[in-house]
């Protein structure tokens, strides 16, 4: 029983590695396309790549492929930026599943974003304050 659990966990990690790696390869293609379009020195290359990765998530979500990939690849599908977009899509669907309005679905999606990004920003703000006002002046 214990051996089954361990082998299941190892399989999950390997699949996360493979799926995450595949998303990274596609992301690299999108990054190179963005750089070719905007010029490699443009400050918008990164943002455009992230938006394109989000759109990739949409394209995978619509036929149900992202959901199947998530069952197989676990965090390999969640960690790339498209994971956040698809998580918002999932929240929208859950909120509207029982006849909820589009507005209710949209609010559920934004609530998830506010929770994840908001708490992340709070942590980052603490680190930024420490770095800017404590570490940097001391150097």
């Amino acid at each position: 029983m214990e051996a089954n659990k361990v082998s299941g966990a190892v399989k999950a990690v390997v699949l996360a590695f493979v799926v995450g790696g595949c998303f990274s390869v596609v992301g690299q293609l999108l990054l190179m396309a963005s750089a070719a379009l905007l010029g490699s020195d443009s400050a918008l290359v990164g943002p455009l790549t992230l938006v394109l990765v989000g759109l990739l998530g949409l394209l995978l979500f619509l036929p149900g492929w992202y959901q199947k990939l998530m069952n197989v690849g676990g965090f390999g599908t969640i960690m790339p930026f498209c994971g956040l977009a698809c998580a918002c899509a999932g929240e929208y669907l859950q909120a509207t599943a029982e006849g909820g309005s589009v507005g209710k679905g949209a609010w559920a999606a934004f609530k998830l974003l506010i929770y994840v990004a908001g708490v992340g920003i709070v942590f980052a703000l603490c680190f930024a304050l420490i770095y800017v006002f404590a570490v940097t002046p001391a150097v």
Binding site: G21, C22, I78, A89, G90, F123, Y131
Partner: protein, 116 residues
């Protein structure tokens, strides 16, 4: 070679977080928050820059790098420049909109389908 390195770096990051999620049994939103926080903490160390130089999109499309981007934009904000923080918020909002569109279109395409 960039694609191989992107695959390896991106795959390793995802595998590492999968291990943490398996051990801690945290839910994905909490794991994403941890990723953002770790990325923010690592930015001043130069590790994120090294990972991005090595792995390209294997790093830059991951939530860890988003944490570093948040940290960088907040440091700019604290120095009086809000533009990069505003752009970052715009990207997050756009991602949510893409997700909402995905959900709405999915319902149109699969009328009897429920959230998976």
């Amino acid at each position: 070679m960039e694609f191989v390195l992107a695959f390896i770096v991106g795959g390793c990051l995802c595998g590492l977080f999968q291990i943490v999620m398996t051990i801690t049994k945290l839910h994905p939103p909490e794991m994403l928050i941890i990723g953002l926080a770790i990325g923010a903490a690592l930015l001043p160390t130069g590790i994120l820059a090294w990972l991005e130089a090595t792995g390209g999109a294997g790093m830059s499309i991951m939530v860890l790098d988003a944490g570093g981007a948040i940290m960088g934009s907040l440091m700019s904000l604290l120095h009086g420049d809000p533009s990069s923080f505003a752009m970052l918020l715009g990207i997050f909002a756009l991602l949510a909109l893409i997700g909402i569109c995905a959900g709405a279109l999915y319902q149109k395409i699969h009328p009897a389908g429920k959230a998976e």
